[in-house]
Structure formats: structure tokens, C-alpha cells
């Protein structure tokens, strides 16, 4: 067991005052077989009303509203996590099929299917997933700013560059095409100032994790998960709607340290 403290801050500045602001956040860590929380806190400003719930994948969500006018919105999620090696028993067998079919951002292109064939070499399951993860790492160039939140696996693969989200989508698309159930995960890792995305693959009734961006197979420690889903669209950290036509500027800071 290893212990980590984390502190995740987001400050959104609105160019003009907004009101009737409704939000839904996924900024607090999950609790699962390999991730227990000694404590987890949420600071919100302004704070009118917040409810703690769970989404369809049982990820923690924090939602509510700020009705009165405000020109900034701040949330700070902090706490202490106790991690075991990254292995999560399959939660609900009936949902496994869902992670075997492609979703909006993972649909592979013809080139990706060809790529899969080239790297398959008789392997399957976890071994194939690891091989594909490495292949994706070698094929792609990490290039921030070249893709968007909505970029698909096929698009990123086509341009051979992207960020962790794109690496994850490509690997998920390839795994699913090979019949391996795979899902998208995001959260915090030590030493990185932003959220990170990786891939969970189900092998023999257990979810194990790979990080294609860092060419890391079999993640063990240090990955604090806040959400998983079919792809990034299921796991947005912050969604909000408000009345007003303000522009937004967002500052994010994350600190994760082993203690």
C-alpha cells in the first residue's frame, strides 16, 4: 500500500458576471478495490448548493447550482488516497459487453485496423493489449495543442500526434477491435500539472491499466482515478451551463505526492 496526497484546483474566470449557473463535476477520486480514500474534500466558491452523487459508471459526481451572479467559479478537490496495485475486480458482468463495442470517439479507421493486424502476431487478451500500447506509443508523437477534446481516435491516429486522451482513445479503439474490453480512465498522477488519461483493459474478470502515453504497461501505483467510461465524453471533469454570454478563462493546478 502507498499513500498519496492530492490537491486539484480549478479557477474559472468569467469575463462578465454570470447567474443561474448549474454545474456537474467529476473532480473527486473514486473508491474501488485498489483505491481507498482516507479523506476527500471539496471546496467550492461561490457555494450555494452541492450534492454528491454517482454517474452511470458509479464515478463520483458533484453537482448543484449557483443562482446569484458571480464572476468566478472555483473548485478545489483535495485529500489523501491509499493505493494498492492497480487491479479492479469486474463490477458488473452484464456491462462488460458495452466496453467491447466501439463508442463515439474510439471508432477505428481502416488504417487503425491495418495497424492492429500488423501488431497482432497471434497474441490476444492482456498480452496483445500491452503490445498495442507500446506500438501506439512508438507510432504517435506527443504534441499538445494539436487535438481537441472532441478529436476522435481515427483523427488523432491519422495525424500521428496528440495528447494522452488521444493515445488512450486509439488504444481503446484497437483493443475493442481485437475483442478486448477496454475503457477510458482519467485522474491524477504525480509530477503532472494537469489531469491525465489512461486505459483500463479487462482481463479474466479484472481491470488492469496501461498508460500508452508514457509507454507504461501494467500500471501499479500512483494513478488516482476520478472517472472511467466508454471514452473521454463520459468523463468530463467539469460541465456547466449558465445564463450570460461571458467568456471563460480557466486555470488548473494539480499537486500529487507520495507520502
Amino acid at each position: 500500500m502507498k499513500k498519496y496526497i492530492y490537491n486539484y484546483q480549478t479557477i474559472i474566470h468569467f469575463s462578465t458576471s454570470v447567474a443561474r449557473h448549474f454545474f456537474l463535476l467529476r473532480c473527486m477520486p473514486c473508491v474501488n478495490d485498489c483505491q481507498q480514500m482516507s479523506h476527500r474534500d471539496l471546496f467550492l466558491y461561490p457555494r450555494e448548493s452541492v450534492i454528491y452523487g454517482a454517474d452511470a459508471w458509479h464515478n463520483p459526481i458533484q453537482y448543484g447550482q449557483v443562482l446569484r451572479p458571480h464572476d468566478s467559479f472555483v473548485f478545489v478537490s483535495s485529500g489523501e488516497a491509499r493505493l494498492e496495485p492497480y487491479r479492479i475486480a469486474l463490477e458488473k458482468e452484464s456491462l462488460l459487453g458495452l466496453f467491447q463495442v466501439q463508442s463515439g470517439q474510439t471508432v477505428p479507421s481502416v488504417e487503425m485496423e491495418r495497424f492492429l493486424l500488423e501488431h497482432r502476431e497471434g497474441k490476444s487478451g492482456w498480452a496483445l493489449a500491452c503490445r498495442l500500447s507500446e506500438a501506439v506509443y512508438r507510432y504517435m508523437t506527443y504534441a499538445p495543442g494539436t487535438t481537441l477534446m472532441t478529436t476522435t481516435a481515427a483523427e488523432a491516429f491519422g495525424q500521428r500526434q496528440g495528447v494522452c486522451q488521444d493515445y488512450a482513445h486509439i488504444l481503446i479503439g484497437l483493443c475493442r477491435a481485437a475483442g478486448i474490453p477496454a475503457r477510458y480512465a482519467n485522474g491524477f498522477i504525480p509530477g503532472l500539472g494537469t489531469t491525465h488519461a489512461w486505459v483500463e483493459v479487462c482481463d479474466g474478470g479484472v481491470w488492469r491499466a496501461l498508460d500508452p502515453t508514457n509507454n507504461l504497461h501494467e500500471i501499479d501505483y500512483g494513478y488516482i482515478k476520478i472517472a472511467h467510461g466508454r471514452d473521454a465524453a463520459d468523463c468530463p471533469v467539469n460541465r456547466g451551463v449558465f445564463r450570460g454570454t461571458a467568456g471563460q478563462q480557466t486555470q488548473v493546478r494539480i499537486i500529487v505526492e507520495e507520502i
Partner: protein, 438 residues
């Protein structure tokens, strides 16, 4: 009945007077059009109706069971009756609904089931509409008018009174209402094509008509805010806004029509949403094929009403049949975006047929094929001439405490003699649908 038929123009003037219109966008400009009423009714004898009624109740009950199953234990998938990928890759499958149980387990409260009658009198189901089926208001208001315009006709013909649709709706809404708060009809607004219907149903059911922004979720409860900024609890929302726009924090983020955090209030059981979210998975063109199997699976009954004979190239046997008989079949592309649409094999040149064959072979899951049904055409008045035209029937099935079929329906017809497409936005009209007492 002749008296009534002669009064077509009078009825249409009354419809105009009441603002019975539907909106369409033509070249980006919103226009409200009258929906032409044809005075020759579709008459359904009592015996036929009994059979239709039983068949429709059976079908809708099975579809409701299916929806519950798909979002809970998925027994039908485990038992191999419906393949998992048909469910999960359906555009209508909504994972956010996993494990969410709507009040009384009812998903499809108002089902619009489209049927056609073949020349031999046999009825076929064309499609199930379980999301936001529209159109009941037109025959509803038409009947109130025709009864006034030609009372003799209704004295002489034993036609079942169909003016109880709003009562059916109201009873259903009261039944699913979770907290005794208000019943609300949520409309996307005046520029929605069916706005007349939203406002008319609100008038007739006594529900509040809410526009985007009128409703808000606070502490997991849905409230309607009045002019004094006071909150009124809402217990049932008959929404005419589709799933993807219903909660901008869960679905389409740019939606201005939705109610932020509605999904959370709904998940907690604090509001009934009519129809439930996620129903699209059951009225998918690819799932249609499995509905007769669902009836057998859930109800252990033989389907009373038949599907139009349908083939899925996904299955080996069907695949071979389709490729051999492509020139006789109707082919439908079930992929939503940029689709091929609906094509009749008999209309294609040999080259185009070959092209289509290649497409089907390349991606079998994308297609379904159906036998061409020899429609029984209905008479309509074209000027003063009686001519025959294609028509379908949308039956409305309301599921509350029990499942009931509204004893009428929307009969739409095509004006164009060569057209199989019965669609109000393409110049068609509608008729009253008479169900006879005996």
C-alpha cells in the same frame, strides 16, 4: 357519411380557425402550414380493431419489458435472443440510464406504432415510435369539429367516441406522478414543428405548458418558477424535447432546451419523465426485427401483429436471402448519418444493385431488408374526385396503470400518387380514424 365528406372545406376552415398548424423550415425560414384534412375517414370494423388492440397492447408491453431488461439485468442478451452488439451499438442505447428505474417501471408511456394494411387486409407493423411520437392532436381536434359539422353522420354511424385521449394522458400522468406536484408538458418552443400539439394537449389535459428555462432542478427536485419567483414542485414531465437535449450537463452540452441536472433528479426518482430516457434503443430500426422475439421471450405469447417481413444480413441465413433477392426487397440503411436512405431494389439498375450488394457485404450490420408490401390504398378527395393514395396508421398506446390503445389514431396519406412516403412535411394530409362500435 356523404354529408361529412361534402363538408371537407368547412372542417378545414375550422381547423384554420383554431390554429391547427405544423411548423416547417423551408430554406431556413420558419413557416406554419395547415395540415390538410381529408373528410373520408378510415373505417376500422370492431373485429379488426379488437385484434389490433390486443396486438398493440402485447407489443408495447413487451417493449416496455425489453427496455427495463436492457437497462437492468440484460437477461435477453444473456439468453442470446438479442445480440449484445445490436443493443450497445444502437444510437438510442443510453448508458446513463443503466440501473435507473423509472416510476412503475414504465418506459414507453406513449407509444406511436405505425401500421399499414396490405391489400389482403392483413396489418403489418412498420415501426415503433417510443421516444416522442407526435400527431394525436390532429385527429383529436378534427373529431370535435366533424361531430359539430355533421352530427347526422355520427348519429347514423356507430363510431366510438375518441375524444378521451386527453383523459388517457392525464390519468397516465397522474399515475406516474411521483410526488403530487404539477404535471408539466415541456415544449422546445413555438418553433418546434409540433408546437400546436404541445399547447393543445396542455389545454386539454390541464397540464402546465413549460418552455425552456421555466423548469429548474434544485436539491434534486424539479420546480417551476412563477412570476413572483416562487417555486412549485413538479411531479411529472411529459417532455417533447428529445433525450440528447434534455440535460445539458449529461447530454448535448450546447442544448438550451434542457433542464440542467434533470438526470440526477430523475435517477433519484424525484420526477417522472414521460417518455422515459433511453427509449431509443427499443425503436431502433435494427431492434425492430427482434420485437416478435421479445413478445415470445417476455410474455410467452405468439405475436398477434406481424412485422413487415424483415431480414438482417447480420444473420447468415438472412444474408444469403438478401443477396439473392435484392431486386425484390426494400433496403434500409440503419446507420444514421449520411445514410443511403430507403431504396427499392426493383428501381435500381444492375450496376447500382451490384454496388449495393458490395456495400451490404462490406458492412452487414448497417442494413436491413424488407419484403415489399402490397399496400391497400385509401380513397381521398382530390378536388371533388375520389382517388386512391398510400396511407398509414399511427396508433397511440398509452401505458399507465394498464396499457390502453386510443380508439382512433392518425391516418396520414400521401398526395403524390407514386409516393410511398406518408409524411406531413411532404404535402400529405390526414384523415380521421373511425373505430366502429360493432
Amino acid at each position: 357519411m356523404d354529408k361529412l365528406i361534402e363538408s371537407r372545406d368547412t372542417v378545414n376552415r375550422w381547423l384554420e380557425r383554431f390554429g391547427v398548424r405544423f411548423g416547417i423550415y423551408k430554406n431556413g425560414v420558419f413557416k406554419e402550414q395547415l395540415f390538410p384534412f381529408d373528410s373520408i375517414p378510415r373505417v376500422i370494423p370492431a373485429d379488426d380493431w379488437r385484434m389490433l388492440e390486443q396486438g398493440l397492447v402485447q407489443r408495447v408491453d413487451a417493449l416496455n419489458r425489453f427496455l427495463y431488461d436492457v437497462y437492468h439485468d440484460k437477461q435477453i442478451i444473456k439468453d442470446g435472443v438479442v445480440p449484445a452488439e445490436f443493443v450497445y451499438s444502437s444510437k438510442g442505447y443510453t448508458p446513463e440510464c443503466e440501473g435507473v428505474t423509472p416510476p412503475h417501471n414504465i418506459y414507453s408511456h406513449i407509444s406511436g406504432i405505425d401500421l399499414v394494411q396490405a391489400k389482403d387486409g392483413k396489418w403489418y407493423i412498420l415501426e415503433d415510435n417510443l421516444r416522442i411520437p407526435s400527431g394525436a392532436s390532429y385527429p383529436m381536434i378534427a373529431r370535435t369539429i366533424t361531430r359539430k359539422v355533421s352530427p347526422q353522420t355520427f348519429q347514423e354511424n356507430a363510431v366510438v367516441d375518441s375524444r378521451d385521449y386527453s383523459q388517457l394522458l392525464k390519468e397516465m400522468m397522474d399515475f406516474v406522478n411521483v410526488n403530487g406536484g404539477a404535471n408539466v408538458i415541456l415544449t422546445p418552443g413555438r418553433y418546434n414543428s409540433a408546437f400546436f400539439e404541445h399547447s393543445y394537449l396542455a389545454e386539454k389535459t390541464g397540464a402546465l405548458l413549460a418552455f425552456p428555462g421555466d423548469l429548474m432542478v434544485e436539491n434534486d427536485q424539479v420546480v417551476y418558477t412563477d412570476m413572483y419567483n416562487e417555486r412549485h414542485l413538479v411531479g411529472c414531465i411529459y417532455r417533447r424535447v428529445s433525450d440528447e437535449y434534455l440535460d445539458p450537463l449529461v447530454f448535448e452540452p450546447s442544448s438550451l432546451l434542457g433542464i440542467p441536472n434533470l438526470m440526477q433528479a430523475y435517477k433519484k426518482g424525484n420526477v417522472a419523465v414521460v417518455n422515459a430516457l433511453g427509449n431509443g434503443v427499443a425503436d431502433d430500426k435494427g431492434i425492430y426485427y427482434f420485437v416478435p422475439k421479445m413478445i415470445q421471450y417476455y410474455l410467452h405469447e405468439e405475436p398477434i401483429l406481424s412485422n413487415a417481413p424483415t431480414y438482417l444480413p447480420y444473420f447468415e441465413e438472412d444474408y444469403r436471402y438478401i443477396l439473392e433477392h435484392l431486386d425484390k426487397l426494400v433496403i434500409k440503411d440503419v446507420s444514421e448519418a449520411g445514410g443511403y436512405g430507403v431504396v427499392f431494389g426493383r428501381d435500381l439498375t444492375p450496376e447500382r444493385l451490384e454496388e449495393l450488394k458490395q456495400l451490404i457485404m462490406a458492412d452487414p450490420r448497417r442494413w436491413i431488408a424488407q419484403e415489399v408490401i402490397d399496400f391497400k390504398d385509401l380513397e381521398i378527395l382530390e378536388g371533388d374526385q375520389r382517388v386512391e393514395r398510400k396511407a398509414d396508421l399511427r396508433a397511440f398506446v398509452v401505458s399507465g396503470q394498464t396499457t390502453k390503445v386510443w380508439k382512433s389514431g392518425l391516418t396520414r396519406f400521401s398526395r403524390n400518387p407514386d409516393s410511398f412516403v406518408v409524411n406531413s412535411s411532404q404535402g400529405g394530409g390526414f384523415k380521421d380514424t373511425w373505430v366502429l362500435e360493432q
